[in-house]
């Protein structure tokens, strides 16, 4: 209590008055068929051994494989002085595998994950396929040439390629950055920021996705928020504090890493809506370019709009065809320019899992898209 008194006096003059809010009963979105806790540890170890064997059997060049399994159940209850009572029960299961391949002096790595907001039934079927995929990536890269350096057309792969939109646009739409004018998207509501073919959403209600919850961490029911409609900016992402400042409703994006952290505006599942382009045609129209199939991750400075992405699997595009694999590439650019240069969105939509870090807090997020083409982005390789 002493600490709380200290806080109250230090913050005096900054009080906000309570407003009334009706308690909302959150919908049940996540049916958990098999509670992971009920599954014996031996079964989990067996899956990990299978991943290990599948990866190692992919060829004599596979030097190392490491597989990980994680499960988590988080029950949250939120009460506030406005009379709100809300709760959620979140179970997440995730499998990951990393493969190291070696040929003479060359070493390459491949990584693949399978994760959902779901019970152990996620691993029904053939979870071992991710080991094949990770091994295939690592081995394919052994033949890679150094990545090119310079500006060119870039085709971004489906699924985790959506991290591009997450960094390039999502972070700049979080209302804390917007309200401090520390985002290139501030004061652009309603403006054209992309070609009319682009529609994008943040949707915390997508069944079983990694960033899904019945409510956010302030008790606001999750929702689907259209952030870009036909190329126009339509909404920022709000928690309750920032929503009150802008005199709007929270969009259900107030998230926190744990009880130790304050809520801040965060994405849930962010994606570019599938377009009508055939992914093969998207590539076939490129004379010389770079195909970024997957990323290790990315980072953005919303105030300047400068972003970077580390490419984990990339290829050259020559004469409309995917030719040689490239190693060691980073994509770099500026949000507003790059977003405006998206000229094709593929129909082959997929969602992937990710972890997003902001202000020292880590949150599970979903990212997704079909193949996307950007006319002009800097590829930073070593082949000058």
């Amino acid at each position: 209590m002493r600490a709380a008194d200290g806080l109250a006096s230090a913050l005096s003059g900054n009080r906000t008055d309570p407003v009334s809010l009706t308690a909302a009963a959150p919908p049940v979105l996540q049916e958990v068929e098999v509670d992971p806790v009920s599954v014996p540890a031996e079964r989990k170890a067996e899956i990990l051994r299978e991943l290990d064997e599948r990866a190692r059997s992919a060829g004599s060049e596979v030097a190392q494989a490491s597989a990980s399994y994680s499960e988590g159940r988080r029950r949250v209850a939120i009460f506030n002085s406005e009379g709100l009572e809300a709760s959620d029960d979140r179970t997440r299961v995730r499998l990951g595998v990393q493969v190291v391949a070696r040929r003479n002096g060359t070493v390459e790595t491949g990584f693949e994950t399978l994760g959902e907001h779901r019970g152990f039934e996620l691993l029904d079927g053939d979870p071992g396929r991710i080991a094949d995929q990770a091994a295939r990536k690592a081995v394919a890269l052994l033949a890679a040439d150094p990545a090119p350096a310079g500006e060119m057309t870039v085709v971004v792969g489906k699924g985790f390629g959506g991290v591009l939109f997450h960094e390039m646009t999502g972070h700049g739409l979080e209302a804390d950055a917007v309200q401090k004018d520390a985002s290139v998207y501030a004061n652009r509501m309603g403006e054209r920021v992309a070609e009319p073919l682009l529609n994008a959403y943040d949707d915390g209600t997508m069944p079983h996705e990694w960033g899904t919850g019945a409510i956010d961490d302030e008790g606001t029911p999750s929702q689907k928020t259209a952030v870009i409609v036909e190329g126009r900016l339509t909404s920022y992402l709000y928690d309750r504090l920032r929503a009150r400042r802008d005199d709007v409703d929270s969009t259900g994006n107030g998230r926190r890493a744990s009880f130790r952290d304050l809520p801040i505006p965060r994405m849930t599942n962010t994606y570019i809506e599938p377009g009508d382009a055939d992914p093969e045609a998207i590539i076939a129209e490129v004379d010389r370019g770079f195909y970024a199939v997957s990323f290790g991750g990315g980072q953005v400075e919303p105030a300047t709009g400068d972003f970077v992405f580390g490419v984990s699997e990339g290829y050259l595009i020559e004469g409309g065809k995917v030719t040689r694999p490239c190693r060691g590439a980073t994509l770099i650019g500026n949000c507003l320019q790059a977003l405006a240069r998206i000229d094709a969105v593929g129909s082959d939509f997929e969602m992937k899992t990710g972890f997003c870090g902001k202000a020292g807090q880590t949150a599970p997020v979903g990212t997704g898209q079909g193949h996307v083409r950007i006319r002009g982005l800097t590829v930073g390789g070593t082949a000058i």
């Binding site: 190392q64 350096a149 000058i384």
Partner: protein, 451 residues
């Protein structure tokens, strides 16, 4: 004996009573506060306190780990059961055993500044506001500060082992950083400033703010450079991130798993002789300094790079046993919630002879790199290859010229280590890439990706 030390002893005993053949308990407790300031007002203020204990239990060569915050006798008994239960289902591992005591562990004076606990929260709020003011006053083009963050911590850690040793230490830390924004027309640039110390009194608010303000305004008008290979000077911040890359690659755990570009290279020439890097867990100025590591073994100094050679790997007791070496006292604990693992303590880049102006003169025409971005995805710790976003200034005729942004630097760790031509003479502590005593580096040849 501190209260936490007694707690650790009770937890270790509870584990042996529950059936562990050996046990070790790590207890931690402390207070921290965090202040965030924007536009002259407190944006958020968090005070936290907590205690917890983590228990590593062995049954023969099987190990289990569990942690809890319920420190009652019942809680400790349940925690002990959980750790022992985990050990029962673990696989046998011949290299797994409770660490032996490293004998006497000398105290390191000056790790805890009692002045921190005595500093009222209102005072540190004033400090954070002053940092912001200093950035804004630096240049009229500095129009806003996104956020000033001030954090301090006063903590105690204790370890007790069934091998018969028990010890504890206390330390304080205070740091502040900010991101300033400079504006000219529609252009916005950002700049970072920071300071670290043992108490708020160690922090130079005006200097921290000025660094961010200067960096932001100096970046206005930045353009994208042409793609090319050229000499580069790494700022001390960038050099620290690079040292952190080296620090990860010398981990014996990664080396033994074949996941490091330094694997099988011990004693070989892998770097330019000008570059000397050591790990030193005993320097009183370092934030990672402690009398002992996460297994209770005395921290020490380990030379990593010298005379161009790879001199050592960093070990905890597990990798030491597996590799037939001795622990270098590099078992780190992120908190009581995780078992120890190999990690650098403070990385020390030995300063060289040249002033910053002389480094620029030696570079002639090239780039001065002040900021790198995307390290977590652009650096591959297994292969050693990297390609990251960068910004900085052009170097022309041996002097700083126009600002540059939106480019990449790329290469591989071994190639860059070999290309270091000189180390600057001015060193300072930098909290990036871990805790690094860093100095600027001149790299003879670096791939720049731009237009």
């Amino acid at each position: 004996m501190s209260e936490l030390q007694e707690l650790a002893e009770r937890a270790a005993e509870a584990a042996t009573s529950a059936g562990a053949t050996e046990a070790e308990a790590w207890a931690e407790g402390g207070r921290s506060r965090e202040v965030r300031v924007h536009a002259g007002e407190v944006e958020s203020l968090t005070e936290a306190s907590g205690r917890g204990v983590g228990v590593r239990a062995w049954i023969g060569s099987r190990t289990g780990y569990a942690y809890d915050t319920d420190l009652s006798d019942t809680g400790l008994a349940e925690l002990a059961e959980a750790a022992v239960g985990a050990a029962r289902v673990a696989d046998e591992d011949e290299n797994s055993a409770a660490p032996e005591s490293s004998g006497d562990v000398p105290e390191i004076p000056g790790l805890r500044d009692a002045g921190l606990a005595a500093t009222e929260t209102a005072k540190v709020i004033q400090l954070a506001k002053r940092v912001e003011r200093a950035a804004l006053d630096r240049d009229e083009r500095v129009t806003a500060v996104e956020e000033v963050v001030y954090v301090d911590e006063d903590s105690t850690a204790a370890i007790a082992s069934s091998r018969g040793f028990s010890r504890s230490f206390a330390a304080t830390v205070a740091y502040s950083f900010l991101q300033a924004m400079a504006t000219e027309g529609a252009e916005v640039q950002t700049g970072l400033g920071f300071g670290v110390g043992r108490s708020p009194g160690d922090l130079d608010a005006d200097g921290i703010g000025a660094e961010a303000g200067d960096e932001a305004s100096s970046m206005l008008g930045a353009t994208k450079p042409e793609s090319r290979s050229c000499p580069a000077v790494f700022s001390d911040r960038v050099a620290a991130s690079f040292a952190g890359f080296v620090g990860g690659a010398v981990s014996a755990d990664e080396v033994q798993r074949g996941r490091s570009p330094f694997a099988d290279r011990l004693g070989e020439e892998i770097a330019a002789p000008q570059l000397r890097i050591a790990d030193d867990g005993t320097d009183p100025g370092g934030l990672a300094t402690a009398p002992f590591d996460g297994e209770g073994i005395a921290r020490g100094r380990t030379a990593l790079l010298g005379d161009g050679k790879l001199l050592a790997y960093l070990h905890d007791s597990y990798t030491a046993r597996r590799g037939g070496a001795a622990s270098t006292g590099n078992a780190a604990r992120a908190s009581y919630r995780s078992p120890p693992s190999v990690s650098p303590s403070n990385l020390m880049i030995e300063p060289g002879e040249l002033s910053f102006a002389e480094l620029l003169a030696r570079a002639g025409d090239g780039v001065y790199i002040t900021e790198v971005a995307g390290l977590h995805s652009g650096v591959n710790p297994v292969t050693g290859r990297y390609s990251v976003g960068a910004s900085g200034r052009a170097i022309r005729g041996g002097e700083l010229a126009e600002p540059l942004r939106e480019f990449t630097i790329a290469g591989d760790l071994l190639g860059t280590l070999a290309a270091v031509q000189a180390v600057g003479s001015r060193a300072r502590w930098v909290p990036f890439g871990g805790s690094v005593r860093s100095a600027p580096l001149l790299v003879g040849d670096l791939a720049i990706g731009g237009s």
